[in-house]
Amino acid sequence: MLLQQLFRVTMGKGCWEKIRRHYHICPEEKMYVFPECDERLNRIAEECIQASIKTKFYTELCFVVVGGVRGQIQTEKLEAKIKWVEISHREMNFIIDYFMFCSQNCVIISLTRPEGRNLDRIIGLDGLTVEEIVQRCIFNLL
């Protein structure tokens, strides 16, 4: 199990390195990862990224999308400074393992959260729509 996980992390680093060099992405750039093939979720997240640019003053952005769902994201809406990368499911999973272990500059666009679920009721997330959860929980846009 240990070796298997270390292999996944190392593979993730390799995949990421390849992308980073190809697209000239520097480590300081904010990273958004879209691992789920959920059109609605990804669309909302995309809008949140744009809102983040305006409200949180990120100067450079980049996001990585799993292969095959690019058509679901309306790229024409995005600002020019957002870079676009397309990779396979397999690579995506490796990269997520690597990011979770080594990078602190990555936001994963997923509704699967291992922590904090029971706080939802307390902080008023219970009963909210997917839009609201993405805005408040993933992007911290209040």
Binding site: L2, E17, T59, S103, R113
Partner: protein
């Protein structure tokens, strides 16, 4: 959290250079963010005759209040009304975003002094060497975990307490029994990284306690971060949203209390859960002996606790001394709970130091406590005596909304004040009146 020596020097050097160039002359001075550096910056500016006028903060919950005795304003609102040129001092890991925000505000009537501190100059490491190092750390952490695990039954779960604050371990132990029942855990080990945490856990009669150093604790957490709970029987008692987020929910949701973070986030309970308070040895004569030895009056003594490990208070020792004198005039004897060279007793008071297991008894025998909010307040929260707790606005480590003993359900009779320098006399008077 306190300012490190490296950061303190950075702040002093930058402000000295700026002041020597006369950059603060004739301008207003603002600090961006109610951060732990703000006090250090304010104190350093004072050495050069400059007072801060305002603290800028994007947190709407803080805006409109005061911090370090000056108003907290949203940057947009401040620059809408600002007429005079201003020097904005930035000292934060978000310095890049702050600068970008300031660039959009207040046209050219501002100077920015960006002080590089450890957290803002730390580069995001993305090299193969860094990965290799992280893997080595994860492997080392796994070995430490394995060494502890082999001493206990095979199905033992290791509870890792990453924070060295006594309040954190107190809250963790308060709900440990309920969690063990919920998860049907029979064998477990609580791993702590400070002697004070071990003593706090002992109050709850935690059987299997392991003390490791802070470095080994971090290594085990890194191993868990890499290998996950499928491989390691570990329950980290973390409340910073570990793998997917690294910020405190309470920063975004100010209505959350420290207690709720443990109930809902750390332990994942669905609803209210019973607290398991430590039992107190009512037969102990420790307090009686201590009071006799220190010539303190039983039931007419106020114990002052003017020190907190997590923040430096704005309330100076002169104010504590004045408070002690006022109480003495009303017939109280006054003691200071202090230990070591750094914690001096308030002048004119009797220094006392007692073990945690006797703290509730000592306070009940004394009659009253006046304390800055710290982990010690959690430990004594069950004492039946006059408890007065002081919080400070603006700083996360002493925030009333998050740490109020009343809001946390630890004590309903406690008297709580939010200390502000400009209201010091009024607060001291209220404390004396509350003490009776």
């Amino acid at each position: 959290m306190k300012v490190s020596e490296f950061d303190r020097k950075q702040i002093q050097n930058c402000i000295r250079q700026y002041a020597e160039q006369g950059m603060f002359n004739g301008r207003n001075t603002a600090i961006f963010g109610c951060t732990l550096y703000a006090r250090e910056i304010r104190d350093c500016l004072r050495q050069y005759g400059t007072e801060i006028d305002v603290i800028l903060d994007n947190n709407r919950d803080k805006a409109g209040k005061t911090c370090l005795g000056v108003p907290v304003c949203l940057p947009e609102e401040y620059f809408q009304q600002q007429l005079k040129e201003v020097v904005v001092v930035i000292c934060s890991k978000y310095s890049r975003e702050m600068r970008a925000q300031l660039d959009t505000l207040g046209d050219k009537r501002k100077q920015i002094l960006d002080i590089p501190v450890e957290e803002s100059i730390r580069k995001i490491e993305d090299s193969w060497e860094n990965l290799q190092e992280r893997i080595h750390e994860a492997e080392a952490g796994y070995q430490i975990y394995d060494q502890i695990k082999t001493q206990y039954p095979k199905d033992s779960v290791l509870f890792l307490c990453p924070y060295s604050g006594t309040g954190d371990i107190y809250m963790a132990c308060l709900y440990l029994k309920a969690y063990l029942e919920k998860e049907k855990i029979i064998h477990y080990v609580v791993v702590v990284s400070a002697e004070s945490c071990r003593k706090t856990a002992e109050l709850f009669k935690v059987q299997n306690l392991e003390l490791v150093n802070g470095e080994n604790m971090q290594l085990m957490l890194k191993a868990w971060e890499c290998f996950g709970s499928e491989t390691m029987q570990v329950k980290p008692l973390l409340y910073w949203g570990w793998r997917t987020k690294r910020y405190l929910y309470a920063d975004s949701y100010p209505q959350i209390t420290f207690n709720e973070m443990f109930v809902y986030d750390v332990f994942g309970f669905n609803d209210n859960v019973e607290k398991n308070f430590p039992s107190i040895d009512r037969k102990s004569d420790y307090a009686e002996k201590l009071f006799r030895h220190s010539a303190l009056k039983p039931h007419k003594t106020v114990i002052m606790a003017p020190y907190a490990g997590s923040f430096d208070s704005e309330m100076g020792m002169d104010a504590w001394e004045d408070l002690a004198n006022k109480l003495k005039k009303r017939g109280w004897t006054v003691a200071t709970n202090c230990c070591g060279e750094k914690e001096l007793p308030v002048r004119g008071t009797v220094p006392v130091y007692f073990p945690y297991k006797e703290a509730v008894n000592v306070l009940q025998y004394a009659g009253g406590l006046i304390a800055l909010r710290s982990g010690f307040c959690d430990i004594v929260s069950q004492a039946k005596c006059k408890l007065i707790i002081l919080y400070e606005s603006g700083f996360s480590a002493s925030r009333y909304e998050y740490f109020s003993l009343k809001k946390m359900g630890l004590n309903q009779d406690v008297v709580e004040f939010v200390y502000e320098k400009r209201k010091e006399e009024e607060i001291k008077q209220k404390i004396v009146e509350a003490m009776g």
